[in-house]
């Protein structure tokens, strides 16, 4: 058996052996998800990649089922969603799962991103892994934005109007691009229809990029809370059963909280105005996106110039792409970076403040507050990180993971 992948595992089951010899799915699973050496010191922050994957599958499953009853036409979209809620058997459940699933997908991904930033998971040799993650994040935002338009409520229509209008800020070609995007002179049926087509397509692109993301991860293996590389088998455990079980447990806890919202407060994270059918001639009093977009919305509105605001908003995500090169520290984990650790927490507070700014009308003290918070956000990435890596004195790193774990046990 000439195979370029090392010694093939021996399967006792004849059927499995027959399949594996022709399409090595079972040896792949065996290698990547059973024996795969994983650092033994993961904390619960490491659960969120698996949780995010579960949410992605859930969103696709609920989405396809909703698609069997949804009509993407301006005259029928709102009513088709109401019909799902009221008449379709368990339609209310599938719809609420999909609606809250989006929020919880973002919760999982934001915690996952925080883990990456705090523990230096974006540093060499995982730069591309990180970039693939930012691409997934961008695709998620596009998908969620278009998905929110589909129920064709007031907030669907007007949120889409505000955001697509931003493209007209591009000099020279802005107006033509906006007309092309809309398929008309305003948000109308052509726009709804194409948003539906793209909203259906993008999740499968996300699946493909997630696959690349996991493949990239498995080249060098996972990072860990200490940020130091495993030096041998004493530093790792096989992925199964340790992390299959730990991830399984974490997923269940996450799903319990998710179920709590889905069943007992399904509209808590949404906006009541979206239960009013879209009216192009009446603007709602306050136009706000869903909570997961609020910090970016605040950055957009913080800059008084239209094009400036657009550039700042996209810039806020662009800095994430180059994060591996902005951070000059040779130490990965914030555990050993006493100054960076606190700045990381300040960044979290800053993003939360930006979220509140985005939720409130840009009046009074919210204006200078959002401007301050925006400046701080960019200061963190563009000024603080490059400088801090050079001047900070990190704490001494333990000699190995096993060493740190055993010392902790002895203490």
């Amino acid at each position: 058996m000439a195979s370029s992948h090392g010694t093939p595992p021996v399967f006792n089951n004849k059927v499995i052996a027959w399949i594996d010899h022709r399409l090595p799915v079972f040896s792949y699973l065996e290698k990547e998800y059973h024996t795969f050496p994983t650092p033994r010191n993961f904390n619960y922050f490491w659960n969120f990649g698996a949780i995010a994957t579960v949410m992605l599958v859930l969103m696709i499953a609920t989405g396809v089922v909703l698609a069997t009853n949804y009509t993407p036409h301006v005259l029928m979209a709102f009513d088709s969603v109401e019909r799902i809620d009221r008449d379709v058997p368990q339609g209310w459940l599938i719809r609420d799962l999909h609606m809250n699933g989006a929020s919880f997908f973002f919760i999982a991904v934001y915690i996952h991103i925080f883990r990456g930033m705090y523990y230096g998971s974006y540093k060499a040799p995982r730069e591309l892994l990180w970039i693939l993650g930012v691409i997934i994040f961008l695709l998620m935002m596009a998908t969620a934005f278009m998905g929110y338009v589909l129920p064709w409520g007031q907030m669907s229509f007007w949120g889409a109007t505000v955001i697509t209008n931003l493209f007209s800020a591009i000099p020279v070609v802005g107006e033509s691009i906006t007309t092309w995007l809309w398929g008309g002179f305003a948000i109308d049926n052509p726009t709804l229809n194409r948003f539906y087509a793209l909203h259906y397509l993008l999740p499968f692109i996300i699946v493909a990029v997630v696959a690349l993301h996991v493949i990239a991860l498995h080249v060098h293996g996972s990072n860990n809370p200490l940020g130091i590389d495993p030096k041998g088998p004493q530093d790792t455990v096989p992925f199964h059963p340790y992390y299959t079980m730990k991830d399984g447990f974490g997923v269940v806890v996450f799903l319990i909280i998710y179920a709590g919202f889905t069943f007992f407060a399904p509209d808590y994270m949404g906006h009541p105005d979206n239960y009013i059918p879209a009216n192009p001639l009446v603007t709602p009093e306050h136009i706000v996106p869903e909570w997961y977009f609020l910090p970016f919305y605040a950055i957009l509105r913080a800059i008084p110039d239209k094009l400036g605001g657009v550039l700042a908003m996209f810039g806020a995500i662009a800095v994430l792409f180059v994060l591996p090169w902005l951070d000059t520290s040779r130490v990965r984990s914030a555990t050993f970076r006493p100054i960076y650790k606190w700045f990381m927490l300040v960044l979290v507070v800053d993003v939360v403040v930006l979220g509140f700014c985005g939720a409130n009308p840009p009046a009074g003290f919210w204006i200078p507050l959002s401007q301050l918070a925006t400046v701080y956000y960019f200061f963190h990435f563009l000024i603080l990180l490059p400088i801090l890596g050079k001047i900070e004195r990190p704490l001494p790193l333990p000699p190995s993971i096993a060493d740190a774990v055993l010392k902790k046990k002895a203490a």
Binding site: N165, L281, T283
Partner: protein, 168 residues
């Protein structure tokens, strides 16, 4: 070598173009790009809102006081200087100051300003007022105060008779 590459690029563009142009407005959308409005029923001081190209269009039958107030504003007070006269001229260069026809979308971030329906807040300049971020427009629809950068847009319109106007 270069010629092959150039021809290949032309080929790719030729294949891509139908897919991209496909997303531009379709014939039925373009057909609605002009509408005819009968303005005769609109009394002096009254305003209506019509839908044109998916957007609201304000048509106000201005009172002599509105017109006088609009003409009296000095250009230096306007963030986007424009004479009232220029804003009430149709595409045949005929000036009808009593008819103000504007796209009812705030030039800031796209909300529909108040002031066109009876009872709505007309704002501090007695024209229109956008509740989203506080932009205030005067009786000529020009921006006076607030974050909006430009006056309310005047679409191309033509009075085909004294009571019928074609917008777009």
């Amino acid at each position: 070598m270069v010629a092959t590459g150039a021809l290949g690029a032309v080929g790719v563009a030729a294949v891509a173009w139908p897919f991209i142009n496909n997303l531009n407005p379709a014939a039925d959308t373009l057909a609605l790009s002009s509408i005819d409005v009968n303005v005769q029923p609109i009394a002096v001081g009254q305003a209506i809102t019509v839908k044109w190209r998916g957007k609201p269009v304000f048509i106000r039958h201005r009172t002599p006081e509105d017109i006088k107030a609009a003409e009296a504003v000095p250009m230096s007070e306007l963030p986007d200087p424009q004479t009232d006269n220029a804003r009430v001229t149709d595409t045949a260069k005929k000036v009808r100051p009593e008819w103000l026809i504007m796209i009812g979308i705030c030039t800031h971030l796209g909300c529909v300003p108040l002031g066109n329906k009876p009872g709505q807040d007309k704002g501090p300049y007695d024209g229109w007022y956008c509740p989203c971020h506080g932009s205030a427009y005067d009786t000529s629809g020009r921006i006076r105060k607030g974050p909006a950068p430009k006056n309310l847009e005047i679409p191309d319109y033509l009075f085909t008779s004294d009571s019928l106007v074609r917008i777009g």
